[in-house]
């Protein structure tokens, strides 16, 4: 019997040894291992960094048009500034998901796109000239929603608005808002360029603090909170019982709200499917990861089901008014139908996908058993 136990130990040691020595010569057989690091590389190099670069360009353009406007004070200058504002706001949707690293540290999204904005707070800030935009209490007094109010929502005709915006207090506030967008974004881009990219890719393990787990959580958080709830659910009254049309995104230039929802949905689809920012290639993605796992385990591949759900949400949204605010007022049931399709994807992603990929949802890296 001693020999049995000794054999057991020897066997285990042999297995361990062969494992440790076998790494190299067996690598050809191990091609089917899904490479989390390759996915992180593609996420950062094909999507996140190009998207942030391009977004920063748009913010710079917005700042330039704003400076032009204040130098010239013309209606054409106002129009150019508004158009640069819309371009930057559109481009924001390509980066909003990536709330990781510096973006997470500085709270980029909270300072960029919290809506509905607090009009009273904005007016107070402008009147008193006494405000600190870095405070969380000012989340809803800055960013694109505040600019939507200032550029579209003051109930003035263009000429009156032209002179209003050139009042010293307004000028300072708009300068501050746009400078802040620039500073925060520039900080994030600089961080990605100076070392964060490599740190992000190297953190390729599997734990609550690993890059894959963190970014997938960010992705799901964006999908649930900002796309599903923020853009559709909250205005449709899902969480309140009664619709709240005024809580829709971009309520003053409201004809863009459906477009913004679709931009958010596209960003979600592109991330899931690994479509590069410039649409030129397809990189390693969650979709491929799910395919790999389904193949390995001979289980059902849920990636097509998730894509089908995105697709049916898009189809139902095509029936919506360009102004979601108007849609809520006219026929909220169509908003609810779109919401239901978005909701079905939540179950597929938060239950089936997280289980298949073994992604931790718990940000506290505490013990389990």
């Amino acid at each position: 019997m001693r020999s049995v136990a000794t054999n057991l130990v020897i066997c285990s040691l042999v297995i361990l040894m062969s494992i440790s020595c076998g790494g190299d010569d067996q690598s050809s057989e191990l091609q089917d291992t899904f490479n989390r690091k390759a996915m992180l590389q593609d996420w950062s190099d094909l999507m996140i960094i190009p998207a942030f670069d391009s977004y920063l360009d748009q913010v710079v353009a917005l700042r330039d048009r704003k400076n032009d406007f204040y130098n010239g004070g013309t209606l054409a200058g106002l129009e150019a500034m508004r158009s640069a504002y819309l371009s930057a706001y559109r481009e924001w949707h390509a980066v909003s998901i990536f709330d990781i690293g510096e973006a997470e540290a500085v709270g980029l999204r909270n300072f960029t796109n919290i809506f509905p904005s607090n009009i009273e707070e904005i007016n107070n800030n402008i009147e008193s000239s006494d405000y600190n935009l870095a405070l969380p209490s000012n989340f809803d007094a800055q960013g694109y929603p505040a600019l939507d109010y200032l550029l579209y929502g003051q109930g003035l005709d263009d000429l009156a608005l032209l002179s209003r915006l050139q009042e010293e207090n307004y000028k300072t506030y708009i300068n501050d808002l746009i400078d802040r967008l620039y500073d925060l974004t520039n900080g994030v881009v600089t961080n990605w360029e100076n070392g964060y990219r490599d740190a992000f890719v190297e953190n390729d393990g599997s734990s609550a603090t690993a890059s894959v787990d963190k970014l997938v959580n960010d992705f799901l958080f964006y999908y649930e909170k900002f796309l599903r709830a923020g853009k559709i659910g909250i205005p449709a009254g899902i969480f309140s019982g009664t619709p709240i049309a005024t809580s829709a995104e971009i309520p003053y230039a409201d004809i863009y709200s459906k477009e913004f929802f679709l931009l958010g949905l596209s960003a979600v689809e592109d991330f899931f499917n690994g479509v590069s920012y410039d649409n030129s290639t397809v990189g390693t993605s969650l979709k491929q990861y799910l395919e790999h796992i389904a193949n390995e385990n001979q289980s059902e591949n849920i990636a097509p089901l998730i894509n089908a759900q995105f697709q049916s949400a898009r189809i139902l949204a095509s029936d919506l008014n360009p102004s979601l605010q108007q849609q809520v007022l006219d026929d909220n049931s169509k908003m609810l139908l779109t919401y239901d399709e978005l909701q079905k994807a939540v179950v597929l992603m938060k239950v089936d996908m997280l289980q298949a990929l073994n992604i931790q949802v718990d940000f506290v890296d505490a013990d389990g058993d």
Partner: protein
């Protein structure tokens, strides 16, 4: 008649048989040190705040709703718990220290079901047993101050009871693995291991199907047999090496905290009492004089010995019976989780869930959905979504919360989906049942939708 007498005399002689106290003394010292370290680690990781102080709602155990977080006093509670563990280690006011440790540790565990872990339960049970054992009879401040209790021999059962407890843990953990998912589908290791391919040396193999089976079967065989190999002298050394290898491997692969180390030091109890005594004596020069192990040849005397034996005997029967209570419930225990806890089901399943609560005003038919993160932490939401008793408890809390906001005639429904061990997600709780009316102890049959295997 003859056999009965034999048995009786065997029992009597077993109860009276003595052995060196050293293994129990070593166990006491290591238990105290590791527990003290665990408390410090918990504190430094910021978990006191994150797990106990920050959440606005805590999942209470039935009958222990009165256990409350003490605000910043919770830090004091952890301090007391850690300090008493240190006192246990050095054997200072041992009976009081181990009782305080048991009570404070239990109180912490009772604060929130979310944080239930088998190894916390193990610590609670072992510290309870230790209250009734003379683990301070040597190498302790108590015994150096009070020579009357100083002894180098104790009753044999006072060491065997800890072996029995370990046997219960391992064997039930092994039996729990003998199910279709673990043995035939190699689940959930098939889900867990491939995400560990970045680990050096063995990582490259963790994506291989045969490895998932090797780990599953190896784990089951290990759990079922290790106690027997540890009990038998001739295999003990090799078995202990296996214990170290197995638990270090699990520590590398899974985020299970202190558990591997607790099991490694606990299994030392299986080694012979003379070996423990020799080790204690050989390190005595490094110890302060109060803690030196002295072989004075005396036996520990206590008039309570028999009483404690009977009491602990009943307690151990209870420990043997408790894990079996799931047998009284139909259906898959991994799905309904009735009788799942306190049964040594360790690292046994991957369960992911999503629960979307709908509040309905039954008069106006007005309805809305709940944002769970208004009430729960991510960790709580994760645990809640897969465990029926959590879902029910939370639903009732939501009912009360929204009623107090002025809503009347409320009904609470949940749309919930759970994926178990790689199966596609399935509806979990019956979405047609108003959860406010459900009583968990007398569950109506249609509360859970059975697992479609």
């Amino acid at each position: 008649m003859r056999m009965e007498t034999d048995l009786n005399s065997y029992i009597v002689s077993y109860i009276n048989s003595k052995t060196k106290a050293a293994p129990l003394v070593v166990f006491r010292i290591l238990f105290g040190l590791v527990m003290c370290f665990s408390m410090i680690r918990f504190w430094l990781n910021g978990w006191i705040e994150e797990l106990y102080i920050n959440p606005s709602f805590l999942f209470k155990y039935d009958g222990f709703e009165w256990v409350q977080v003490l605000g910043n006093g919770t830090y004091l509670l952890f301090f007391i718990c850690g300090l008493s563990a240190l006192f246990v280690a050095i054997g200072f006011k041992y009976r009081i220290a181990i009782t305080v440790f048991f009570l404070s540790f239990l109180y912490i565990e009772l604060l929130d079901k979310t944080n239930y872990l088998n190894h916390y339960y193990f610590i609670s049970v072992v510290s309870f047993i230790l209250i009734w054992l003379p683990a301070h009879c040597n190498s302790s401040i108590d015994s150096s101050r009070n020579p009357i209790i100083k002894a180098s021999y104790i009753s044999r059962w006072q060491i065997d009871i800890l072996k029995l407890m370990l046997a219960i843990v391992y064997i039930y953990a092994g039996l729990a693995k003998l199910n279709y998912d673990w043995m035939i589908r190699a689940m959930p290791l098939t889900i867990w291991l491939p995400t560990k391919v970045h680990i050096p040396i063995i990582g490259a193999l963790l994506d291989q199907k045969w490895m998932h089976y090797a780990f599953s079967w190896g784990g089951a065989i290990y759990d079922l047999s290790i106690v027997f190999f540890l009990l038998w002298k001739r295999t003990r050394g090799a078995a202990f090496m296996l214990v170290i290898m197995f638990h270090v491997l699990t520590a590398v692969l899974f985020p299970i905290g202190m558990f591997p180390y607790i099991m490694i030091f606990s299994t030392l109890i299986f080694f012979s009492s003379s070996l423990h005594a020799n080790v204690l004596q050989s390190i005595s020069r490094a110890l302060p004089s109060a803690l030196v192990y002295i072989d004075n040849g005396k036996s520990y005397m206590s008039k309570n010995n028999k009483l404690f034996l009977i009491f602990l005997g009943v307690f151990m029967m209870f420990q043997v019976a408790l894990p079996l209570r799931y047998l009284t419930h139909d259906g898959n225990v991994f799905w309904h989780e009735r009788g799942y806890r306190y049964a040594w089901r360790v690292m046994l399943m991957e369960k992911t869930g999503y629960a979307n609560f709908r509040i309905v005003d039954t008069v106006s038919q007005k309805r809305f959905y709940v944002r769970n993160d208004d009430f729960l932490t991510a960790r709580q939401e994760k645990e809640m979504a897969t465990q029926p008793d959590f879902i029910l408890q939370y639903a009732k809390y939501l009912g009360k919360h929204f009623s107090s906001q002025g809503h009347k005639n409320l009904a609470v429904y949940v749309e919930s989906y759970v994926s178990l061990n790689g199966r596609k997600s399935q509806p979990f709780v019956n979405p047609e049942v108003n959860l406010i009316n459900v009583d968990y102890t007398t569950l109506c049959n249609n509360f859970l939708i059975p697992l479609d295997e």
